[in-house]
Amino acid sequence: MKSFAQLFTSLDETNKTNEKVKVLKEYFACVPDTDKMHMLALFTGRRPKRQINSTQFRLWAIEASGIPAWLFEESYHVVGDLSETVALLLPDHKNTSSKTLTEWIADINSLTTKTEEEKHAWLLQSWAELSAQERFVFNKILMGSFRVGVSQNLVIKALADVAELDAATLTHRLMGNWTAETYQFAELSHADTALEDVSRPYPFFLAYPVQETSEKQKTPDAMQDLLGDASVWQAEWKWDGIRAQLIKRKGEIFIWSRGEDLATDKFPELHPFLNELPDGTVIDGEILSFRNGLPLPFAILQTRIGRKTLSKKILEDSPVALIAYDCLEFNGEDIRSKTQTERRQLLQQLQAASSFQTVFNISALINFSSWQELSEIREQSRAMIAEGIMLKRKDAHYQVGRRRGDWWKWKIDPLSVDAVMIYAQKGHGRRADLYTDYTFAVWDGDKLVPFAKAYSGLTDAEINKVDAFVKRNTLEKFGPVRTVKPQLVFEIGFEGINKSTRHKSGVALRFPRILRWRHDKPKEEADTIETLKALLNDNE
């Protein structure tokens, strides 16, 4: 655990990419192979199951730190991170531990059969033998909240150097359904592909945004400058569903979401079509809810995400179907290095042979001859229930991760309203102890109704100004939340709006964020609930 905690600290201490890679390589060079696999699992978001719930964790931390519960909570609000708060509040460790990362994680996993009393004793004992630095990382792993500010690309770059493999191969081998307990470093670094797991997806190729912010719209001329001649590009709608990779190999089917969650069971409607595909087929596409052959807004799909069991009603009301984008494996062969156009032909061939063509759709190509024409077509995105347009170079290979150059997304402008900030709460992590999480309201007659929370969109300098405003203009405190004098007006952008029975305002927004601070607007000129309701009607 010492080397892992030190790795975490060293990565925290530098903002420089080269330095991070160096630190990662040093780590790989000095730890046992099992630790390498556990580290890779943690750094790629594969966390051990949580065995101690946060109520127990807090309670036992309060006991071990010897302070009153309220003071523990106050400390948490200052620190903004539970694991860190506990690491800081516990008394200095009496003993040390030489257990490896692998041994600690085995300990954690073995808690599953332990009684609450045994867990309690184990946790206090463990804390007593870890330094504050180790405790922090240990708490993060234990509580399933381990995250690290290092991209998977960097980790793979470092590992590729150490294992003398190329990064794309490693990225692929680290995809999918593996655990550090069963996947051995020798398998990962061995060149023999016979060991490949049949369920393993390919790394997703992700599009780069044409415009970084919605305020800087690209003109047709600017598109010409950026992408060159329109004729070398294919255009499709950018569908708003769940990006997925669908696999049929050796008689088995697998559906992976982009977050590398295996979601095969969540979409039973897709199973017959997948089962019919020839072995050795991998398709990239978007899963959406459909009604009468037409895609529905994301909000409908959202109601079934996260449900353990799918009711008959859901399956009847809004069944899902696939809009396929791409084919990555054909006849058992990795075809990612064929051109976009060639891959699309193979995809069409698969679809033509399918007896489930209402479920297996292909993302239609948009006919256009100039950027001018395409930019006009793009205006219809919202009516198409699309988020904008995707552009793919006709000779593009299917690449790994988000890359500039061959795939671009050209999203539509967000919807927006001007709203008044009425509540503020302190943020977490880098924003700990600063008021960064705000609730916004619009007018309903002479009252302000809250309708959205937004966290992002302001610059650091603006956040500091808002933070200072909140502290000077607090009306009431409810736990961590402050009611502030309604005064500041912000333009709130969002991708979609839907009816909600759970919210006071009667609406729920998709991806709300702050577009800009309207210094020029007094609160009286903020938008009203009627404005929101009108957008709701447009949307239906």
């Binding site: 201490e13 200052v78 880098r430």
Partner: protein, 358 residues
Amino acid sequence: MPLLEFTDKGIYCAAGRFYVDPWLPVDDAVITHAHADHAYTGHKRYLAHHLSREVLLYRLGDITLQTVEYGETVFKNGVAITLFPAGHVIGSAQIKIEHKGEIWVVSGDYKVEDDGVCTPFEPVQCHHFISECTFGMPVYKWKPQPEVFAEVNSWWQNNVQNNLATVIVGYSLGKAQRILQNLNLDIGNVYTHGVIENTNEALRRNGIVLNPTHRITQESVKEEVRKGIIIAPPSSVGTPWMRKFAPYSFGYCSGWMTIRGAKRRRAADRGFVLSDHADWTGLISAIDATRCESVYLTHGSTATFSKYLSEIGFDAHEVHTLYGTDEDDAPAQTTETKIADNNSQEPAESMANEGGEA
């Protein structure tokens, strides 16, 4: 009527007709230390410790200043005033005020660890203690100074080996000298930003012996400076002045560095937890040692800290002053200055320090 009261100009002694650390102009001001949130300009007469003399004159210009030694008593209108070491920065003092058997002590800012640079903190028994509590949260626990400087020196050594310049940031009165006196000078020379060097010079005029420093000027040879260590004020972070020494590693010394989020916001390569204020246990032990009947908390985590002190049996009160910043403003406010103005930590102090000098 109590001997001291809290007014809109500062802490006032009606019997002695003087103020302690007033923030609006008054006739008679007793000053705990030379940081700008305690030593404001515009008073008719100042009383402070000998070792604050040159820094006060440098910062406030031509003032009428009487200075005294620790333990030496002066009277104002029959009220006895005695200064005791506060251990915060060179020349910092607690002010003991005694009249008709009633004793008050105003702490100013203090720390209990002996930093080897300023006269160590000395507890003073009193009836009423007016205390700061900048770091009055139990998450703030300082490591012993030698451990922190072992980290600093090994970081510097490592930078030299990797051909990185080393920039260490701390406010100019206090932190800068504490850093200077604890560096391992076998590694290299110490270079200072002008703002820091001006304060060093004022302290040297006051008879303080500091390690040798080289002021960075137009004539400084960049390659030489890059082999040493640069002590810079928070206001210089990210400025062209600092960038000209790139590539460098930049370390930040402050108590706020305890919290990972605060460290990340500053994008410092290294955050060293080093403060001239008392930590949680330091505050409690210092207050306990005064055996006071009541304690008044002026700045820092006043709400939380006074609630806790009340629970463990003290008669504790929150007081609103302009020292530091109020309750939960302190850590965030500091960030604000840092990001917005390239100022930083220990807000009032740094702004204060840099204010007159930049």
